[in-house]
């Protein structure tokens, strides 16, 4: 990317809070604040943390039967998505690979969609080209802020009682600090919490209201990555991409029964075949036995030295207290408890395939 990185409506707040700014997907974002990645990670697991996720694409879809039309692009059951509910999903391609993952909410008179920052340029034209009779509007004048952690309900609820009433994967419109926000009870950390869409002019003021709570501190992209990895959540571009199918990625839970049976989405032939017969490879959790983190690209071998696959995400898990990773292995070697070797800088390091997540998800169902 040759363009200067873009700034979110919270840029001045990041600088004021001492954020270490880096270029991420064309956006100037804080990777950490003075507390540090470990501290921010633990803050989110134990209390509450505030993340700027305004780089993600917020999109409004208006028209007749938007849910049904989305089903032509996604293997999710969006036609039956009730008002006030949000559902995780993905766009698939004709080969059954994943084009991007997303959250779709039924907001009553429209649908609200959040897509990955790096794929806004792909997803918006994709929807415009394929959703007949649907008006696709990308929102540029609202920030998106995540407040995550076991204390998130208190942090947000003290300013907005309606937030306490939401359950996991529910969304509503409510006032926070005198401004109308969209509040959705979901996130990307494995913890309870909210993602809140705020008009840009009020974004710093409302964020400071959250940060004024004793239990809420800012956290950057570094902690966001270690939190989602411990929670076993896929990162697009690392763990899933155009070539990986949802079945390989262990995301069959995100395809509802009716869609599995009926098909009718891009790549249904491959995905239904893999549902019936199993995929050749599978995304699994991997726990290195030693202290060395296994990073993206590290080869996974069987104990007898055969190549099984590669690590797609790997880091140090502050809550686990050691390295954690995810990667693809041959399906017949993917059972939890299987011993493998990770080839880190030329040396075989012992590791074990484990069930995901590494840290129990703590959602308010």
């Amino acid at each position: 990317m040759t363009d200067a990185p873009k700034r979110t409506p919270l840029y001045d707040l990041h600088v004021e809070l001492g954020g270490k700014m880096v270029d991420f997907a064309g956006w100037e974002m804080p990777v950490q604040y003075p507390m540090g990645i470990m501290g921010e990670h633990k803050q989110c697991r134990e209390k509450a943390a505030l993340f700027d996720v305004s780089h993600m694409g917020q999109v409004i879809l208006r028209g007749e039967n938007v849910g049904e039309k989305l089903e032509t692009l996604c293997p999710q059951a969006y036609a039956g998505l009730k008002e006030g509910k949000a559902r995780y999903g993905f766009f698939t391609n004709e080969d059954g690979g994943i084009m991007d993952d997303l959250i779709v909410s039924n907001a009553g008179d429209h649908y609200f969609v959040v897509v990955n920052a790096a794929l806004r340029h792909q997803d918006i034209p994709h929807m415009r080209a394929n959703l007949d009779g649907v008006e696709v509007t990308e929102i540029f004048d609202r920030a998106l802020v995540a407040v995550q952690g076991p204390k998130a309900e208190d942090v947000v609820g003290e300013l907005c009682p309606a937030a306490r009433e939401l359950k996991f994967m529910e969304t509503t419109i409510a006032e926070i600090g005198g401004v109308e926000c969209r509040i959705s009870r979901l996130g990307y950390t494995g913890e309870d919490g909210y993602e809140i869409s705020i008009p840009e002019a009020d974004a710093i003021r409302v964020s400071k209201l959250f940060l004024a709570h004793d239990d809420c501190e800012p956290a950057g992209l570094g902690a966001r990555d270690s939190l989602r990895l411990e929670a076993g959540l896929c990162l697009y571009g690392n763990d899933i991409d155009q070539s990986t199918s949802p079945i390989e990625a262990s995301l069959s839970w995100a395809i509802q029964k009716r869609r599995k049976e009926e098909g009718g989405f891009p790549g249904a032939a491959r995905i239904q075949k893999e549902l019936a017969e199993g995929a050749a490879k599978k995304l699994v959790g991997i726990k290195p036995e030693g202290r060395a983190p296994a990073r993206q690209g590290v080869e996974i071998q069987s104990e007898s030295g055969d190549t099984l696959g590669a690590i797609t995400s790997g880091s140090f898990g502050p809550t686990v207290g050691g390295p954690v990773a995810m990667g693809y292995v041959a399906a017949d070697q993917s059972a939890a408890g299987t011993k493998v070797n990770l080839i880190i800088r030329g040396k075989a390091q012992p590791a074990e395939i484990v069930a995901l997540p590494f840290v129990t998800q703590n959602y308010k169902r």
């Binding site: 990777v31 950490q32 540090g36 990645i37 470990m38 570094g222 990555d225 270690s226 202290r291 060395a292 983190p293 990073r295 880091s315 140090f316 502050p318 390295p323 800088r345």
Partner: protein
């Protein structure tokens, strides 16, 4: 006892022909929280510019490059169990190697404290 600094943000103190090597506070601050250190073993010889270990933070792995030729004579074993010491006292207890210098004249290529301070601004 003199202390020298490399452009790779290492410090070296020399007593006779034995040098102690570590990373600077500036380097530690840039790396962030250290979670793992991969060290060579005593007896290994290395050449200036060669990779002599890896320091891993939560986010990334960074190589340690030898600032001169030498041989590892002692490894700071405490870093294996407590890599975080590299953030707390990188220029003190958290030294990485003691090395036997092959060619003391290579020290002339390194910086003194004033030169290093100028490098990091």
């Amino acid at each position: 006892m003199a202390t020298y600094y490399s452009e790779e943000h290492e410090w070296i103190t020399v007593e006779g022909d034995v040098a102690t090597l570590g990373i600077t506070q500036h380097a530690a601050d840039q790396l962030g929280e250290v979670v793992f250190v991969e060290q060579r073993e005593a007896g290994e010889e290395f050449e200036k510019g060669g990779e002599i270990g890896v320091i891993e933070s939560v986010k990334a792995a960074s190589e340690i490059y030898a600032p001169l030729d030498g041989e590892v004579i002692e490894v700071n074993e405490a870093l294996a169990d407590n890599p975080g010491a590299l953030n707390e006292s990188p220029e003190g207890d958290a030294w990485i190697y003691k090395i036997k210098l092959s060619d003391a004249s290579q020290l002339d290529d390194l910086m003194d404290l004033d030169g290093y301070k100028a490098l990091i601004g």
